[in-house]
Symmetry: C2
Subunit: 239 residues, 2 copies
């Protein structure tokens, strides 16, 4: 761990007379695991329930939002170097009336293999998006706050939109990948079956990826490996 913002208990801000709300960052981390969209949440023993919450913490002064994001992500989950994007800033309708926070939300994407190398699994839970529902209740009696659920839904929507008109899929894949792996990401996130010939044409018309001339022999018939042309997020005019 380097460049972590020094531990700060923020003891000065709990004064009930403070006239401003407290800015905080909350992070929705998505990854594809077992052919499903999954969310990384913190396990938290709170009150009498077993709750899951989004990784998040108070924003420290004199550091940029990005620095605060990196710091909170690493501290809370052990993960570093992810794709991140700001989502929205929510007013947090105080769950417990003792304080007022403003939640600046981000979403992050990780390729599962990278994720497993870095994450601290004692701290986090991997939860299928489809297991999170309107009633705030999951299998195994786990619960999530309604406001966090709303944020996750919003993030999922953003992910779908981005997939259709950017090269964001690169953050859910290894550097080199088979065309079928790319298509799988689209099918899982967009939740629809895609014709592979049409998919191929779409991707190549966008000039999103290129051949590496290497072969992946792990499947029966070896498959060409592709890579993304742009290493940064690229927004395409249409798709």
């Amino acid at each position: 761990m380097n460049h972590l913002i020094k531990e700060n208990n923020f003891s000065d801000i709990w004064n009930p007379n403070l006239s401003i709300p407290i800015p905080a960052i909350d992070i929705v981390i998505f990854t594809i695991y077992q052919n499903e969209v999954c969310v990384v949440l913190l396990k938290q023993e709170l009150d009498w329930k077993n709750n899951y919450i989004l990784p998040g913490w108070i924003v420290a002064k004199w550091y940029s939002l990005e620095e605060n994001f990196d710091n909170i992500l690493e501290r809370k989950t052990g993960i570093r170097w992810v794709y991140k994007e700001q989502l929205y800033t929510f007013w947090n309708p105080d769950r417990d009336k003792r304080w007022h926070t403003i939640s600046i939300t981000y979403f992050a994407l990780v390729w599962m293999d990278n994720f497993l190398k870095n994450v601290d699994l004692t701290k986090v839970a991997i939860v299928r998006y489809s297991d999170i529902n309107e009633n705030n209740v999951w299998f195994k009696d786990k619960k999530i706050w309604t406001d966090h659920f709303e944020i996750i839904k919003y993030a999922k929507q953003r992910l779908k939109w981005k997939l259709e008109y950017t090269n964001i899929a690169k953050d859910m894949l290894p550097k080199k990948f088979r065309m079928s792996q790319l298509q799988e990401i689209y099918e899982i996130v967009l939740w629809e079956k895609i014709d592979k010939r049409n998919f191929w044409k779409k991707i190549f018309k966008l000039n999103m990826i290129e051949e590496t001339w290497e072969l992946d022999k792990s499947t029966n018939r070896p498959a060409k490996l592709y890579r993304f042309i742009d290493s940064e997020l690229k927004i395409y005019d249409v798709m």
Copy 2:
């Protein structure tokens, strides 16, 4: 003025040891005036320069972001009841190093006639978007902060996107309008000439507007008046 958040000098937050940044709202108000996209800015005498700034102020605790927005907008400009949309939350790279604010930015749209009824023109300036430029300098020696310029550019981009796939134009028009007025909005904001037959087909395929069966006789040949079908913002699948 009703329901205004009570005046608050926020005297407690200027303590240099406060460990959190100060959340603030900044508002980009767009309107169409003299066939151009214009921005509503505050005139401010600051230091030795004549500056224009975005209307904005610190977020008060225990009020939602929306309530804070309405309050700030009315207090700073006299305007009420506008279309508003949150844009992005920026880290404000302290212009003057004495404090650290986080800027939660919104953009707002007003139809010029409504605007003129409500606005306090002693407080604000109407500035053509095209007169704001990279060098922070305008005609008449007026300046704007670089960070505010970036926010305005971002807002303008958002406006263009929204125009293409939502009914947001309703907030820049009277309740009933001629088709040519609607097309004018599109031509001004998108900055391109549009074929009126194709425009007609596009708008009606989206089911965005309907005829009122009234005629506007103010032009040479009377024109049909239309109105928007949905009174709320509607996002169309494609356009």
